[in-house]
């Protein structure tokens, strides 16, 4: 059992969720409530990681993060080490790759909050921020919650992108999914089986928590 890989996977999933939670609220709300030029294009771009093969996506990220790219060079200047094959690089790739899983359900959640309720909140004297906190978020919460659980579970299981952008550096980029692959390559089926079972267990627990929470919220609202 590769505890280091498990811990790395959980750390990656946690930080991905931490970054995507405010981002999904911001962008999901924007896409749900605002009509603007290029909205269709923005929605298509958010969806793109869903249809692109992870290797293709990983390849472009590798190019974008590489030392010859502007982003890569900037990172090197700022932090003194390169972005690819590091945890930070992996995290950025994970955030981008999870955009559709985080934003889509959040957007659906906010779309469920009708214009009439948002108008009512304003007529009750609530500032936009207060309306978000008191009215929109409580009602959009099932969507946002689903978004975060999907993101968490998906990050744990992602393989192609991690391999392309991160490689398999123990403690830095070797996640549980990569570790399982390595063990299978090394004919260590027993370790691979244990780690696979752990991943299944974590996934089941995550889904159970989601269903329980959304049922509780559903009861509270009805």
């Amino acid at each position: 059992m590769d505890w280091q890989a498990l811990s790395l996977s959980l750390r990656l999933a946690f930080w991905t969720v931490a970054i995507l939670l405010p981002l999904s609220i911001l962008l999901g709300r924007l896409l749900a409530f605002r009509q603007f030029r290029g909205k269709g294009l923005a929605e298509a771009l958010v969806m793109l990681p869903l249809v692109l093969p992870p290797t293709v996506f990983g390849f472009y990220l590798l190019l974008a993060f590489g030392r010859n790219s502007r982003i890569g060079a900037f990172w090197q200047d700022m932090f003194g080490h390169q972005l690819v094959f590091t945890f930070e690089g992996l995290l950025i790739a994970s955030v981008i790759f999870n955009l559709p899983f985080a934003i889509q359900p959040a957007q659906r959640g906010f779309e469920a909050v009708g214009q009439d309720l948002r108008d009512a909140a304003r007529c009750c004297g609530m500032s936009p921020l207060r309306s978000l906190w008191k009215v929109e978020l409580p009602l959009a919460w099932p969507g946002v919650m689903t978004a975060m659980v999907l993101t968490f579970a998906h990050t744990l299981g992602e393989f192609g992108i991690v391999l392309m952008v991160g490689g398999s550096i123990p403690g830095e980029t070797r996640t549980l999914a990569i570790s399982i692959y390595d063990r299978v390559q090394g004919f260590d089926d027993r370790s691979a089986a244990i780690m696979s079972a752990v991943l299944v267990a974590i996934s089941l627990i995550t889904i159970a928590i989601t269903l329980t929470l959304s049922a509780r919220i559903g009861r509270r609202l009805s």
């Binding site: 309720l117 609530m126 409580p138």
Partner: protein, 373 residues
Amino acid sequence: MALSVTVRATAPIPLDLAFDVGQGELLALVGPSGAGKTTLLRAIAGLWRPDEGRVVVKGATWLDAAALIDLPTHRRRLGIVVQNFALFPHMSALANVMAAMDAPNRPEAGRLLDLVGLPGLGERRPAALSGGQQQRVALARALARRPDVLLLDEPFSAVDRPTRERLQAEILALRAHLPMPVVLVTHDINEAQLLADSMVVLESGHAVAAGSTAAVMANPEALRALGIREAASLLPATLVAHLPDGLSRFETAGGALFLPSVGAAPGSRMQVRIMAHDVILSRGRPEGLSAQNILAGTVARITPGEGPGTMVHVAVGDHELLARITRRAAGQMMLEPGDAVHLILKSLSVARDHVRRADHAGECGSMAGVVPE
């Protein structure tokens, strides 16, 4: 004026009108759907910005398109009740009311729910309340904002008829607690005539008539826009007694009136809404009729319509009743202003919800002071 509104716009619908509402005055905006009533209300609330316009409330400018003043909705002190009530589904009735307070105050929210007739249901969520109860919560929430303007956007249209009548009666009873200007949007002329002090009749974004309710309802331009069959007048009447045969006896300036029983105590001052096309005119006092009501009056003026009809304004005491008869009948009777006539009215032609209490205060007297000025 407590509320002064001027709005001009070309989209989404053309609008071009201005009106004022005084402190404590209830103004009804009536007109067919698509006339711009709700859009106008949204302009007052700041939920929609017209091309040109001014909204001034108690001397404070909420909107002045020319001066680029546009106070955001949450900084406009207004209460609004909309057709579907828009209650927050995740909050209890009490929490809904408290959500509109500057400093959430549970006891005061409870008092407001008592005031609108919802004691003891504060912990329920909107989904567990009936349509009429939800409407009351919405009204309590609007009042909790301590509004300088109260906006009612078809607040009675989503509830069934008996509930609507009860709610309308309660709004009348609440009038004493509504010191602010109230704007009521409705397409129900009966509702407007019985609840409002003044009226603006809207037709494709223009005011075709404006003024006191009685004046507007006698205005041919307004009636053309509203539909001539809506022509009606109000007659003050005092309820004398409930009779065992299901009728109630009223006393009016023109004589006794027998109408289907209403839920009010003898001695109550009432308003009876009489549809112009239900009135028959007669020069002599007829006999042997099934109609129970024969009122005496004097022809004040006659305004011929475009079609076969003619509107005869008949003075009954200090009030004017409208009688819509054919031009042919008016000619045969050779009616002239000053002629004495009798108005004949079937008891059953007066719908129960066309008879209302005239005194605004009353039932809720003990709750005075709940809604501060």
